[in-house]
């Protein structure tokens, strides 16, 4: 039963942090190259434009949900299960979500990179 709780927390962490990353990435693509904007309009324009993007706030909220699910996951499961399992699954889920929702071209190179990193994270925690 405890395992079930831990794995549902892991599922929630992966879902929430992938949603957050996709929303934040979408927002920043809408804002455009921050460096260019900074040079032309100054720092306040950058901050203003980021905060005026509605999906940015949603992304932050999703990240908050991911953080609290991590805290609850840690109270049910071991640190050595919850952290690496959620981190490595998030890499794979992000690759899938970015190709579907952000229309990023996730070619063979990026798939291999995501899987290598996901595998490496698991090995480092064993």
């Amino acid at each position: 039963m405890k395992d079930l709780y831990a794995w549902s927390a892991i599922g929630l962490i992966v879902f929430a942090s992938t949603t957050g990353d996709v929303l934040l990435s979408y927002s920043m693509k809408r804002v455009g190259d921050v460096g260019e904007l900074w040079k032309r309009r100054g720092a306040l324009a950058v901050i203003g434009r980021v905060l005026a993007t509605p999906t940015f706030g949603l992304g932050l909220m999703a990240m908050g949900v991911a953080f609290y699910s991590l805290l609850f996951g840690l109270s049910w499961g071991n640190l050595s299960l919850v952290v690496p399992a959620s981190a490595s699954l998030t890499f794979v889920a992000n690759a899938v979500a970015a190709s579907i929702f952000l229309h990023e071209r996730v070619g063979r190179r990026r798939w291999i990179a995501a899987l290598l990193v996901a595998g490496g994270v698991v090995l480092m925690a064993v």
Partner: protein, 146 residues
């Protein structure tokens, strides 16, 4: 990719690593914080290690948002996962923690993944996105381009 952009990516790895380590160091001073005494979490900000850690994590977030404004999510995430390696190496050389062969193998896999993605393109141009109608608009470069 300019040199400054590589610096931002390096900033993501360094600031997230340093921020997490500082937070961990500070929370050790405070001892366990239970869910029933959440006020302990508010007072934690007064600890100098925790305050520094939060400052570093805010800098990390600024670098991360900046990188996402000019690079794909599937590029930024693997490229900055080097932070896991940094934490392990920091623990090994500064805190004299033992690194098992499995962990060394994990470090090698992550390093290989970082190299793989960093050697490829960092951005999917809008016209190459499969559905450019609903793809995010790059408003600044539309403004900036001569």
């Amino acid at each position: 990719m300019t040199f400054r952009k590589y610096l931002v990516l390096a900033g993501i790895t360094v600031f997230s690593t340093a921020g997490d380590s500082l937070l961990a160091r500070g929370m050790k001073d405070l001892g366990g914080v239970s869910l029933h005494h959440l006020s302990g979490l508010l007072l934690a900000i007064l600890n100098p290690w925790v305050a520094m850690g939060i400052l570093f994590l805010l800098t990390f977030f600024a670098c991360y948002m900046s990188a996402l404004s000019w690079a794909d999510l599937t590029y930024v995430l693997p490229a900055t996962s080097f932070a896991y390696v940094l934490v392990a190496l920091f623990g090994h050389f500064r805190l004299h923690e033992e690194i098992s062969p499995t962990r060394w193998a994990g470090i090698a896999l992550i390093a290989a993944g970082v190299g793989f993605v960093a050697a490829g393109p960092s951005f999917t141009p809008a016209r190459e996105r499969r559905d450019s109608q609903s793809a995010p608009r790059d408003t600044v470069s539309l403004e900036v381009k001569p």
